[in-house]
């Protein structure tokens, strides 16, 4: 892989990882929210 493609790949890897963390946090919050509703 060239340095150019590595840079673009790493950029999106960082953003996708962050988005993944946000999705996981949302799922956990949703669980807490549903438990509160009960």
């Amino acid at each position: 892989m060239s340095f150019l493609h590595l840079a673009y790949t790493v950029t999106w890897a960082i953003h996708i990882t962050y988005l993944g963390i946000l999705v996981r946090r949302y799922a956990s919050l949703r669980k807490d929210f549903d438990e509160l509703k009960k």
């Binding site: 340095f3 150019l4 840079a7 946000l22 509160l36």
Partner: protein, 229 residues
């Protein structure tokens, strides 16, 4: 907003794809560096977007310190967190670009070092927010955030004031850039801003809901404690 958000997300995805095509295929090849210079289309917009997010953190922190407005605190937190993400992209793509062009991954020059220092300040800010449960945490974090934001102009102007390994500014600093390259650079920045705005909105909404859930859990725990007495 429930129906608008997916449409905006799709439009942003299309814009990002179009901008990546412009950056990798349409923009002219640099005579000195060849194709490797195309890293600029992600490296620079990431830094600019991070600086805007740190400015959001600064404004939010100041408003929180003056009026203790919880929404300002939420904006400050989201600005810092996303700013760290975008600056991480900048700090990672930089060495990947430096290796083939300079022959080294890293050097302790003013621009690189000051960028790393700002990144570390905001990481400290996030660690403080994450692990301190004291009531005064938002106040302490606001002070750290203001301190970090004050360092940002130094990062930006470091290549104006000092001779560095990092190139001199090509925009607004006496340098020049091919108009087509500049057009693609600004287009990519616009795409990053749209992407950042969408993620920002989601993150802010999450923070808002999280605080509501925390508050409801605290109220429930209090009610249960009173009930057992």
């Amino acid at each position: 907003m429930k129906t608008v958000f997916p449409i905006l997300a799709i439009l942003t995805g299309v814009l990002l794809g179009y901008c990546a095509y412009q950056a990798l295929v349409v923009a002219p090849t640099d005579q000195m560096q060849g194709d490797i210079y195309r890293i600029i289309y992600y490296h620079v917009p990431s830094a600019w977007t991070a600086f805007i997010l740190f400015a959001v953190n600064l404004v939010g922190s100041i408003i929180y310190l003056i009026w203790r407005n919880p929404k300002a605190d939420m904006h400050a937190l989201v600005g810092a967190e996303m700013g760290v993400v975008f600056l991480s992209v900048n700090l990672t793509t930089g060495p990947i670009w430096a290796r083939p062009v300079w022959g080294i991954w890293w050097t302790w020059d003013w621009r690189l070092t000051s960028t790393l220092v700002v990144w570390l300040i905001y990481v400290s800010y996030l660690i403080l927010r994450r692990f301190s449960s004291a009531g005064e945490t938002p106040v302490m974090a606001a002070v750290v955030g203001i301190f970090g934001a004050l360092c940002v102009p130094f990062v930006y102007f470091s290549i104006w004031f000092f001779r560095t390994q990092h190139p001199q500014p090509v925009i607004g600093g006496g340098g020049s850039m091919d108009p087509q390259m500049l057009h693609v650079l600004l287009l990519n920045w616009l795409a990053f801003l749209c992407f950042g705005a969408l993620v920002y909105w989601s993150r802010y909404r999450y923070e808002f809901l999280r605080r509501e859930v925390d508050e409801a859990q605290a109220m429930q725990a209090l009610a249960e404690t009173r009930g057992t007495r």
